[in-house]
């Protein structure tokens, strides 16, 4: 690797524009599921950084490890999964070192979560007021100054624009539409003014107009409260709309990590390129959208080299023998894991040096 000494280790800085303080730093995270057939590496050596107020999109197919990454951060990995290695630094605290009680004080208060399915993410037998109120009951120190529990609940429900909130406190989730339930979820995730919201495909199950409203709401909360958002999705259109930086995941690894413009303008990994090609383009007519040949690999039986090699159009011999290490992209924390992209980058740099121009090495 010819990375200059001045460059940081890939992923330990955020590639997004801006220079606010680092909020979350995930380093070499590995979460495995211990099944009867053996350990399945759902998250394998994942490194990224989120600054305050930044929206990071994590993109990938189902089973690529996006959700498990999110849950690992909150230490809510479902059994038989377990974090086996790596650090999660949140507000300069190593989350792995915290006790369950300390994690409970952090969850809800400093980090909130929104799940994909609004129909199942609220408890059907408890009233909305009760479920949102719990947040303040268990985090009195994070309840906005001068508010009673009921007052804080009303305040946050108004903030996520639930009409007639005072009357609806005693209603049950079944009385709410999908979009309204997702607003309630967002209210629960943001009521204590957390620094981080983990949104696990929060718009996937909603129809398009409601989707836009929910995105709008998240952006607004980011702008007014300054929260950072970890936005998990498989929808690149949504990523382009709201994210500052993007991590593309494939088979448990981040294959490309960069700021949002670079990902869309100069994608380096063949998988990222294939994903972008499969997006419908306005103004062009195609008989069929290009799709990526083959199937995502079985995580329990990964090939020895790059997991994408069997489907990759630019595959070379090295890809099948060895897992590519991260190559830095740009001057900030971005990186790509690909032998072919690495060669391209070197060729670009060499060309830039020869012509004496200020090639940025991207």
């Amino acid at each position: 690797m010819q990375a200059p000494q001045t460059r940081p280790e890939p992923g330990t800085r955020s590639p997004a524009a801006g220079d606010s303080e680092v909020l979350l730093s995930v380093r070499h995270l590995r979460t495995h599921f211990f099944t009867r057939e053996g350990a399945v590496p759902a998250v394998d050596d994942v490194t990224f950084t989120v600054r305050r107020g930044e929206i990071l999109g994590i993109v990938g197919e189902s089973g690529s490890g996006k959700s498990v990454t999110a849950r690992s951060i909150m230490r809510l990995v479902p059994l038989p999964g377990r974090i086996v290695d790596g650090d999660v630094l949140f507000r300069d605290e190593d989350l792995a070192a915290l006790s369950q009680g300390e994690m409970q004080r952090l969850r809800g208060a400093h980090m909130g979560m929104v799940l994909q399915e609004p129909m199942t993410s609220l408890n059907p037998v408890l009233t909305i007021g009760n479920q949102v109120g719990e947040l303040f009951v268990y985090h009195p120190e994070r309840t906005p100054q001068g508010f009673s529990v009921r007052g804080a609940v009303l305040d946050i429900l108004n903030r996520v624009r639930i009409p007639d909130a005072a009357r609806r406190l005693i209603e049950y989730p079944m009385h709410f539409s999908g979009g309204m339930r997702q607003r309630v979820s967002i209210a629960m995730a943001t009521g204590c003014r957390p620094e981080l919201i983990i949104a696990d495909e929060p718009t996937t199950a909603l129809d398009v107009t409601i989707q836009a409203q929910v995105l709008e709401l998240l952006l607004e909360l980011r702008n007014t409260l300054g929260v950072s958002v970890l936005f998990i999705t498989h929808d690149l259109g949504v990523v382009a709309q709201i994210c500052d930086s993007v991590a593309v995941m494939y088979a448990g690894k981040i294959v490309e990590y960069n700021d949002v413009e670079s990902i869309f303008d100069r994608p380096r990994h063949p998988y990222t390129r294939a994903l972008l090609r499969s997006l419908p383009q306005l103004g062009t007519r195609m008989a069929r959208l290009p799709s990526i040949e083959g199937q995502p690999p079985d995580l329990g039986a990964l090939p020895p080299g790059c997991a994408f090699a069997p489907r990759c159009p630019s595959v070379v011999d090295a890809c099948r023998a060895q897992v590519p290490e991260p190559t830095p992209l740009g001057e900030r924390g971005g990186y790509v894991r690909c032998f072919v992209a690495d060669d391209e980058l070197q060729a670009d740099r060499a060309a830039a040096t020869r012509s004496g121009g200020g090639g940025d090495g991207r």
Binding site: G108, P124, E134, Y172
Partner: protein, 307 residues
């Protein structure tokens, strides 16, 4: 909500009516009660006269209507054995049966819910293995065998409890334990699997993501939802506890309704059998009706949607 209750009440009454009808028909198929009442040397005219007197010569529908109106007043005829009203005979045994069933229910709830919850939240642990083993063995072992083994061990071998009869708490312990074991075995299994389902649901993850303590997540969020299927089976179980006591009451010589049914069947005391079966069926239907009411308290979806 009121409509839902009314509907369930009507359904319950209809079920009881059907049971009474079956009881009536079976009694008519099972044999001619007159032959049991007369001596073997009675003349045909004596028999006919008795039939006329008892109304057994009337057409079946007419007999059924009379049976129904009598039954509605609690009149099931006179016991052949004791010459007392059949229903009175049965009712005098109800306190003993209810006491046994209630105590058995308490035992089974006290074992099954905590054990099922604990097994689910510590899935794969030693407690879980023990709970699953208990559920399997408890369901597989028949009541009469468990009862006999308990008598052999605790009454004959150690002499801690009496072998049978009704008296103080010590008399009730072994039969209640026998009844409670089989009920708690299936309830433990059910509580465990219902809890496992709920624990992996999104709203439990959300509750944990809100930073709620483990206790609150398990009892407030998970258990309440897990109880919905448990209550269903519990309702059926209460019914089974009442009628299931036939075997256990006989083994432990417990003077309840179950034992009375066996005694009455042995001497073809049809009025008592009819009264007892009608009462048992009614209490099962009643248990199910109460289950539905409990449902409404646990699950708001029933309270609202069906109204």
């Amino acid at each position: 909500m009121r409509r839902y209750l009314l509907l369930r009440l009507l359904q319950s009454l209809l079920t009881i009516l059907l049971v009474v009808m079956v009881v009536f028909l079976i009694a008519r198929i099972a044999g001619d009660p007159v032959t049991l009442l007369v001596t073997f040397d009675a003349s045909q005219s004596d028999i006919n006269r008795l039939k006329q007197e008892l109304g057994l010569a009337d057409p079946l529908p007419q007999q059924f209507v009379r049976f129904l109106t009598d039954a509605a007043r609690g009149d099931f005829g006179i016991s052949f054995r004791t010459n007392r009203p059949a229903m009175q005979e049965v009712l005098s045994r109800v306190p003993a049966s209810a006491q046994l069933a209630g105590f058995a229910l308490l035992i089974s709830l006290a074992i099954s819910i905590p054990l099922g919850v604990l097994a689910a939240v510590t899935r794969g642990s030693l407690v879980d293995v023990i709970a699953r083993f208990f559920a399997l063995v408890g369901q597989a072992a028949p009541n009469f065998w468990v009862g006999l083994m308990l008598i052999f061990l605790f009454s004959v071998r150690f002499g801690w409890f009496p072998t049978g009869g009704r008296g103080g708490l010590d008399h009730m312990f072994l039969p209640a334990l026998t009844l409670g074991t089989s009920a708690s075995a299936s309830l433990t299994r059910l509580t465990r699997s219902a809890m496992l389902d709920v624990i992996n649901s999104d709203f439990v993850t959300m509750a944990r993501a809100k930073g709620l303590p483990r206790r609150t997540v398990i009892f407030k969020h998970a258990l309440r939802n897990a109880l919905i299927p448990v209550v269903t089976i519990l309702g059926v179980r209460v019914g089974v506890l009442i009628s299931g006591s036939v075997i256990v009451e006989t083994i432990f010589a417990w003077p309840g309704v179950g034992r009375l049914i066996i005694q009455a069947i042995n001497v073809s005391d049809f009025p008592v059998v009819q009264a007892a079966i009608t009462l048992t069926a009614t209490s099962i239907v009643l248990a199910n009706f109460l289950t539905d009411i409990v449902y409404m308290f646990i699950d708001p979806r029933i309270r609202y949607v069906r109204s």
